[in-house]
Each structure stands twice: as C-alpha cells, then as structure tokens.
C-alpha cells in the first residue's frame, strides 16, 4: 500500500525519470537503515545501530566530514522482507538518503537487492549490510552492494575446518528455514564436500521463533544423526532455545554459531536460564565472528570502540525506534561491527571530498587498498572485489562471557 502510494507520487512528480537528491545538505549527510528494531531479532538491529551511532556521534562532535555531520535515518522492518522493501523505497525516494547502510539479514537483503537494481539510475549502494550471504557478493548484485564483513561461507568453512582439525567430522546443521539459513547450510555443505563428506543431520526452525518455543523436535532429529558438532545458522532467540533443549536432552557436543546470531543476546538468555535451572548452558559453545573480540583491548579499534560506547552511551540509545523494555548491551560483537561499518563509511566519505555523490562512491571504495581500521586486519577493495574483510575470528564462553578462542584442542574428540 505504502509502496504503491510512494511509487504513484514518484511517477506523478517525474522523480523516477531523473536523479533524486543525494541525501546531502551543506551541513549534513543522511544515511538510511532498515533493520529489526522489534521482534525476536531486534537486538541485531538495535546494537548495530548503536555501534554506528557511537562513532558518528564522535565524528560529528569533531566537526563531521568536510564540515557535514552524519545521521542515520532508520526504520524498523522486524526482519521481514516485505517491510524491508517498503522501507527501502521510502529511504530512496521519500527521504532521499545518501546511501543505504547497516541493513540486517539475508531474507531482507536478498529482496532489497533487485530493488536497487531497478533503481540503478539513482546509484544507490547497499553499504555494509549485516549479512554474510552470497547474493550481494556475486553478479549481478555485486555492483550495488559494498560489504565489509566476511561471508557466511567463509565463517562456516572456518568452523568446519577447525572442527575437522580436532577430529570432529560428523557435522550436523541447525538452521533458519529461509535464505539466511540456506546460505550457511550451503557453506557447511560446500566445506564438507571438499573433504568428500556430507552433512550428517539437519533440522530447521521458522524465522521469528521465540526463545520460549520448544525446539525438542529439532534436537531429536539431530540426535539421531549422532553428530560430533552442531553448526547453527540462526538468530539468537531460536539458537538459545536450541542450545537449552539440546543440553536438556543430553546432546552435549560443541554447538557453534555464526556471527549473525547476536552472541551476547544469546548468552544473556542462556545465563538467565542457567541461573533459574541451576545448570550451565554456556559450556561447549563456539561462535565465529567477523570482528575481533571486544574484550581484547590490545586491538586499537576495540579500545576506541569501548571508549566511545561508554562516552556516548546516552546518545546512542534513542528509544523511539524500539520498545522501552529493551536493555542495550554495554558491548557486543554486533555493535562493534556497527562501529567498524561506520568507520569504513567515514573513510569513504573522506575520499569523496567536499562534494560527494553516489556515482563516485564505487570508485572511492575501490580505491581503498590495505586500509587499516585498527582491527589488526587490513581492508581492501577493488573494482571486482566488493568485500573489504576476509577476517574470521572465533570465540567461546568462559566465566559467563565471550573470549577469543585460539586453541581448539580442548574439544578434541
């Protein structure tokens, strides 16, 4: 309805025929975000937003980029593709933002990509989406997307490889029944196929499954396959519920999650459940991450992130986007990724100079070679490479918090 109305206005005004505004005024650059600020995955959208805003707030305090402050125009899509599409049309045609930024999720992004292609003439780019799926990394959409993070495929290949190194070769997969889950599933399948192996068991859940749901049926399906390890491709509420039910059913093999899960939110749920049950649900957990551990203050970007998140904590928590009952996380992998995404965007804006335009954006990004953002891993783009980082990090839970995982031998079979 909204989409149709907006499209009608655009057609009537003739905006569709020529380039819309660039989302830039003399004093401000507006970027547009669509993400889950409500629902079972809300922590992902909120924390990504907060991390980015912490950095933008600091940049704005210092005078902005070429005299312009940066702000985020954000809309809630509840992790639903249709809503993401409507939000995108609104951001492009009504708000006329400079770029689309920090989008969350594979099912949403895969539906938005054709839209960007349809409005190719407006030169919008999807910058630093919080998803590791392949479509925005491959033709024909590689031209409209600019990615910071490593892909799901790289994360799952890393997990399979590391578990294989310690003798855990019977890999089962628990995944979200949509394009995100399929992307991770395909990554695991591909990594195993290269070793002439197959996934030994698989179970799915519906997107939006809440922590209160029972996932015992999924656990039972995977138990039958007698796995050495379970790799989960999901969001934090469902993945936490799966871990809870798996441990209760004595499925005690390592359970690994990928970065999209929202690790801290998952951990909080498991810790609360453990406190109520008198048992530890956080043992034998591994996560792959695309940013370093936020506990490792020796890493420059982590130190900067921690300082700015603390300094701008009040600023980066505008409650209008989400329900007041949400308790923001002091630090998280997701907000650190949002922080790094913001750093990367600021670097692009600097390279665009005093008169930035969307059409110059791809060139500015491609010019970034061996860029140091303080993560310990350089970021490089090229005309045929639209993903800046290949770095994958691993973490596990010790004493109720995530710490960097460097030695896998503890889980040797």
């Amino acid at each position: 309805m909204v989409t149709t109305a907006i499209a009608a206005v655009v057609m009537a005004s003739g905006l569709g025929a020529f380039q819309a505004g660039e989302g830039i005024s003399g004093s401000e650059i507006v970027v547009g975000m669509s993400g889950p600020f409500t629902g079972a995955s809300r922590s992902l959208g909120i924390e990504l937003y907060r991390g980015s805003l912490a950095y933008f707030t600091e940049i704005n305090r210092r005078g902005g980029v070429n005299g312009r402050t940066i702000s985020i125009k954000a809309y809630d899509d509840g992790y639903q593709p249709e809503a993401a599409v409507k939000n995108t049309i609104r951001l492009m045609l009504e708000d006329q933002v400079f770029t689309l930024f920090n989008y969350v999720g594979t099912p949403t992004v895969t539906r938005v990509l054709p839209l960007l292609k349809s409005y190719d003439g407006l030169r919008f780019r999807l910058f630093a989406a919080f998803t590791g799926s392949q479509p925005q990394r491959e033709a024909p959409y590689d031209r409209v997307a600019i990615n910071y993070r490593a892909s799901n495929r790289q994360e799952t290949e890393g997990l399979v490889s590391n578990f294989r190194g310690i003798g855990r070769t019977r890999v089962a997969v628990f995944y979200q029944a949509d394009s995100y889950g399929r992307s991770g599933w395909a990554g695991v399948r591909s990594a195993l196929a290269s070793q002439n192996q197959k996934i030994v068991g698989e179970a799915t859940y519906a997107r939006g499954t809440a922590y209160t749901s029972s996932l015992r049926r999924q656990v039972a399906i995977l138990q039958e396959s007698k796995p050495d390890v379970v790799i989960s491709i999901g969001a934090y509420e469902a993945c936490a519920a799966f871990i809870r039910d798996a441990r209760r059913a004595e499925l005690n093999v390592p359970i690994a999650n990928v970065s999209f899960v929202g690790s801290e939110s998952m951990l909080e749920l498991l810790k609360a459940e453990g406190a109520a049950d008198g048992r530890d649900y956080t043992a034998n957990l591994v996560t792959s991450q695309v940013v370093p551990s936020y506990e490792d203050v020796a890493i420059p970007v982590v130190k900067e992130y921690r300082e700015l998140m603390a300094e701008h904590a009040a600023t980066v928590t505008p409650p209008s986007l989400w329900a007041r009952d949400y308790r923001p996380l002091a630090r998280s992998f997701v907000s650190l990724e949002g922080f790094i995404n913001a750093k990367l965007l600021v670097e692009v804006l600097k390279r665009l100079g005093p008169s930035p335009s969307r059409s110059q954006m791809a060139g500015a990004v491609a010019s970034m070679q061996n860029l140091e953002l303080g993560t310990g891993h350089s970021v490089s783009f090229a005309a045929d490479r639209n993903q800046g980082s290949d770095a994958v990090f691993y973490a596990t839970v010790e004493q109720g918090r995530f710490v960097a995982l460097r030695d896998w031998k503890g889980w040797r079979k």
Binding site: T110, P135, D178, Y180, R182, S183, A206
Partner: protein, 240 residues
C-alpha cells in the same frame, strides 16, 4: 380444521420439494466443484512446479543456494502449498521449506515426477507434483499441496449453499402460509355459508354483511357461493 389440513399438505409438499432441490443441487454442486477444483488445483500445482523449475535453472547453475531458497520462500506463501523442495540430478535436496526437518519419507524416498499422494507423519496428507529442471538434467522441483484443500473449499461452498436454501425455505414457508391463508379463509366461509343454507338456525353462521361480501367476490369462491345459493333457492320450493 379443513384449512389446517390443506395447509399441512401444502407445507409437506413444499418441504419435500425443497428437500429434493437441496439434495439435488448440493450433489450437483459437489460433483461440479470437486471436478472443477480438482482439475484446477492439479493444473495450478503443475504450473507452479513448472514455474519453480524454470526459475530455478539459472539460479542452480549460476547463483548461490540462498537465492534459490528465497525463491522457494516466496512461492511457499501461495495458499494451499505446504512444502516445496528442489533436488539436484543425484536426488540430493538443494533447498526446501520443511520445518523442523525433511520428513524421512521424502529424505529417503524415491524421487517421482508423476503426481503422488503422500502421507507425512505428523504433518498431513498431500498431493505432490513435480517438474523436471532442464528435462531432469539439472534436477527437479517438487511441491506438496494440501490434499484436504479441495474438500475444505467444498465444505465451505456446500455450507454457504445450505445456508442460502434454509433462508429461502423459511421465507417460502412464511409466504406459503400467507397465500394459503388467503385462499383458505374464503373457502372456510364458503363452507360455513353452505352449512348455513342447509341449517339456517345452526350457531356460528355468517352475518348478512359477510354473506353479501362472499357473494360479491369476483373469484372462484364467489362463483361457488353464488352457485350454492342458486341451488339452495332452486331446491327450497320443491321441499316446501
């Protein structure tokens, strides 16, 4: 009393007639709708399977499986489709919409391109249709349609029809009652008038005004009243 009997017979006749109409039209409706819907259902299922197969070809050959899954998720929103899965040419499932997992009957079962009926434990009964992708060289697309969907639509259609017939039946009863009363009342008066002519002193007779009104009617009842009076007048002198 005679009027009531007449009325009862008419009502019984109407009831029988409506029963016959209801049963015959329902049977015709069930047969027609079932045949039409089943044919349409099957044709649609095949068309959807074909469409998925055609759309999948390029994705399977050139794109990531998450794109394929995204395609299935969109088709899965169509009413009546319960599940979709796509296999490669080895029969391995590349993408599907099952939650919490691929049923054993499908995971281990033989892949068939012909329409098959499936009973999946804990899920339900389905009609599965399939379409080969590039003549089966690349794989095949399978969709499961809810088997009870046609029956459910039939139930709804029959229910609505029964509701409509019931309303018409009640309205007809009321209308018939009114119409029969219109006929029966003058007939009853005619009967009273005839008895009055035979036994003028018997109680319950008509008033002169009512007799006048009866005799002045233009319809058959008025004609009969006049004939009765004529006969009474003709036979009266002979008796005296």
């Amino acid at each position: 009393m005679k009027v009531a009997k007449l009325f009862q017979k008419t009502m019984f006749g109407i009831f029988l007639l409506f029963g016959l109409i209801a049963v015959s039209t329902s049977a015709l409706c069930i047969w027609t709708v079932d045949a039409e819907l089943s044919a349409e259902y099957e044709a649609n299922s095949r068309a959807i399977a074909q469409s998925i197969a055609n759309s999948s070809l390029d994705i399977i050959l050139n794109r990531d499986l998450s794109t394929l899954q995204s395609l299935l998720d969109q088709f899965n929103e169509i009413q009546g489709i319960e599940y979709i899965y796509i296999t490669d040419n080895q029969g391995d499932i590349l993408a599907h919409t099952f939650v919490p997992g691929v049923p054993k009957e499908i995971a281990t079962g033989e892949r068939q391109l012909a329409m098959v009926e499936r009973r999946l434990d804990g899920i339900g009964d389905f009609v599965e249709v399939a379409s080969p992708i590039l003549e089966g060289v690349v794989g095949s697309a399978h969709i499961g349609m809810v088997q009870g969907a046609v029956a459910l639509k039939l139930q709804k259609a029959i229910g609505r029809q029964a509701y409509l017939i019931s309303i018409i039946f009640i309205m007809s009863i009321i209308a018939t009652h009114v119409l029969v009363s219109l006929v029966a009342k003058p007939m009853a008066r005619l009967g009273v008038y005839a008895r009055q002519l035979v036994a003028p002193d018997a109680p319950g007779g008509l008033t002169p005004g009512e007799v006048q009104a009866l005799l002045e009617r233009n319809d058959e009842v008025g004609q009969l009243a006049r004939v009765v009076r004529h006969l009474a007048v003709r036979t009266a002198p002979e008796q005296s």
